[in-house]
């Protein structure tokens, strides 16, 4: 197992280099002018301003020169400075990462626990009204566009009914807690500020649910199918024949064996949630990596686009590795070499 992990970790830099190179080439080769967002439309025909901007942002060299400088800086941990935020991309990503992780973790919790429970419940009530309801609920979650359901939830649950707070990680007129982890829920607890903890937790509910619901739908269908495969297996019949209570049969035997395919999805889902939070973050004014990526792409902010690509690639590679390891832990029959 150790050799497997070390080998995968050793290959990772090469894979990341490939990702960065592809992102670099795509962003540079598309017919678009990043100066539009650096100097603005009105200065595009001002030679002095354009020349100064090109020199300042490293856009005056040839493409291979720019690539060489980028990779050289990357090896020292310098991802460059964002054209748009005027701050180092590494700082931008680190600042936004906790917001995205907090959102993704909440969504994974809601989607993961909800999906498994919903799938298991539906399997145990196959073709009964509860099964149809569960499947309908799941289908709804995975079918409705995130941006639409997010706006509807905000309009109904925040603006009209006032049951949930509005967009943003904290209420207006509220200072964030002292920065320790960047997770407002954790930092407010570390501050001993329980009011702020409750407020930040409350503000997580809607965006996490919107993001997690789609994922919950996919997962519940998978769990239901996997459990239905297992439910008629010989060992389950034997367990029932031994007089084991149906609830125990389902929990200890069926669900445990249906868990393996679910684990694969779970691992990748976290990486997907990290990178797919774009719309949710935009709608809920969640200043995370998703909204950063959208703005970077819209303005052709080269350093930020490459930085986000690197982050996304890293997230998927780590999720892949973690899933493989967990798979081996969960199923002793699987040996990693």
């Amino acid at each position: 197992m150790r050799r497997f992990i070390l080998r995968r970790l050793a290959v990772m830099p090469l894979l990341l280099l490939g990702i960065v190179t592809i992102a670099f080439c795509i962003s540079r080769l598309i017919p678009a002018n990043p100066l539009a967002s650096i100097v603005g439309e009105r200065a595009l025909n001002n030679d002095k301003i354009v020349a100064a901007a090109k020199a300042r942002w490293g856009l005056n060299g040839s493409l291979p020169e720019q690539y060489f400088i980028y990779i050289k800086n990357l090896l020292t941990g310098d991802l460059g400075t964002s054209f748009r935020t005027r701050q180092p991309v590494t700082d931008d990503l680190l600042h936004r990462l906790p917001a995205t992780l907090e959102l993704a973790a909440g969504a994974l919790l809601i989607g993961g626990v909800g999906g498994v429970a919903l799938g298991a419940y539906a399997a145990s009530r196959k073709d009964k009204p509860a099964d149809h309801f569960s499947r309908g609920f799941a289908l709804l979650g995975s079918s409705l566009p995130v941006f639409w359901i997010g706006l509807v939830f905000l309009f109904v649950l925040y603006a009209r009914l006032g049951w949930f707070p509005g967009p943003g990680r904290l209420p207006p007129r509220t200072k964030p807690p002292d920065h320790v982890t960047g997770f407002y829920t954790i930092d407010s607890l570390l501050d001993g500020n329980f009011t702020l903890f409750r407020q930040s937790l409350h503000r997580l509910v809607l965006p996490c649910f919107v993001l997690g619901w789609a994922y919950m739908g996919q997962l519940s269908r998978l769990v239901r199918a996997a459990m239905l495969d297992e439910i008629n297996a010989d060992y389950v019949r034997t367990a029932r024949a031994k007089g084991l209570a149906e609830r125990l049969v389902m929990r200890r035997h069926v669900l445990r064996n249906a868990w393996l395919p679910t684990l694969t999805i779970l691992g990748f889902s976290f990486a997907q949630l990290l990178t797919a939070s774009v719309l949710t973050e935009t709608i809920f004014q969640w200043n995370g990596i998703g909204s950063y990526a959208v703005q970077a792409a819209n303005t052709l902010d080269f350093p930020a686009v490459n930085g986000v690509s690197l982050f996304a690639g890293l997230a998927f590679l780590l999720a892949n590795l973690t899933t493989d390891v967990l798979y081996a832990v969960a199923d002793p029959k699987i040996r990693l070499a």
Binding site: A52, I110, F164, G166, L201
Partner: protein, 555 residues
Amino acid sequence: MVAVGLVAVVTAVSCGSDDSNDTSATAAPTGSEPTAATDAGGTAAPAAEGRELVIARDMDINSLDLSRSYCDTCQIFNTAVYETLITVDPADPNKILARLATSWEGNADNTVFTFKLDPAATFTDGSPVEAKDVKWSWERLANVKASASYLMSGLNTLEAPDAATWGATFEAPNSAFLPIVAASYLGVINSDVATEQGASAAADADTADKAEEWFLANSAGSGPYTLESYTQGESLVLARNDQYWGPDKPVFPRVTFSQVKDSSSQLQQLQAGDADIAMQISLDSVSQLEGDSNVTTSVVDSFNYVYIALSPGAEGAEKLQDPNIRKAIVKAIDYDGAIESLVAGKGKKQASPIPNGFLGSADLTLPSYDLEGAKQLLADAGMADGFDLDATYPEANVYGVDFSLMMQKIQQDLVKVNINLQLTPVQFPEWADRIDAKGIPVTAVYFAPDHTDPSQYIQFFGEIPGSSWASRAGGGDAGTPLDNPKESELLATALASSGDARTQAYTDLGQQMIDDAIIVPIVNPQLVLATASDITGMHYSACCNLDLGLLGLAG
């Protein structure tokens, strides 16, 4: 169901802590001082002391460094934190008022300008605002070669004969200079503080200046507010300058700009009491605020506009080289219908690129829909059967105008004269690449003024050497087919004259640009100013967008 249960559990955990429904807790917790009490509905109570102002806004900040900034939100920030020598009356864009300067004058031919600084003016650190700071700030603006540096073009010398007197000399007459001085980008920075942080005003400031990152977390101005913090994509927080030297002391201890992207969210937050001001509410949403006693709404005229540009020199636009075909297109557009469909009727027609309300705009004839006239012009040009034109435009929603809707409306209008627009929406960087490479026959763009002098419109839109749109449309140099020497002459006259002669020169320039039929303003949208009902002094300013120092609380 389990998921719903989970939500219920989390909701239960937070029960009683709903920040929009607090009844007794202050709304500024987390170790900070309480700043605002809220009532049961979440609406901030008008307790004057300690009331924090929250502005919901889609912030377009490119920099908080005064000399490098260039955006609408920057204008508000700059005006609040830094001060210019003079400013513009929000009620009249052609009226100049004092700020750091007590007096100002230009010589007869508009080449020499002298200002007397107010001896009482101080920066936030208590040091006096001196002529050396003005000189340093303006030199830095010119030398960093950033977007707003063009405002200093033509400047010959900057002189500070003593600490309180300040002079600028130009190579050629420049009657635009006083309005330019009122532009927020010409604010005054505390040069001693900024220099310590790596700022430079030297000729090589574009490479030597290293202070931009410092300015993202600090400010060094003399305005009513100072920068407290900035989190890109989240919030911009200003703190009251308790030592403010001016007569009108700032009211709010803190002003927070909250990043709220879309109009509907801004509206919801205003109605819920989570925001005190929303400035980007779409014009068709105004009706939703009617009858809401907690919100005050007004619709005011703006100086912004959206336009289409016809570029005869673009690839595939050869037919537009005939001015009568361009004029036919101008006549074939149903402006009233566009205003109704794009901004719910809350906008105005505009005659030329010089916006309504600016010098030279008053006596020009507004465009009108003349389908028969358009058909006749096309028939005379031998184009009665029509032709196709590429219409690539940036995908944007600016000043409440959705560009896609606007271009579809124009497409529908032009098809009636057999001109078929091939609409292609693209992202802005792609549009910028196209417009400067092979040009775009028909496109859509927008414009908001940097200052209140009409010369900026001729320099950007006129068919004169150096103008951006002359170059994009296929001209740009003297003697090229689109070059209009009359406009160059009129601009020189306008910059050298004052009073009625100046007004007449700009009126003539406006007419010349109408006759060019290159830039076709479609709508001059009005602006919705929506605030909590206890906010006073809300306004829109041509030079500065919004001057936070003028805002207050009723009662």
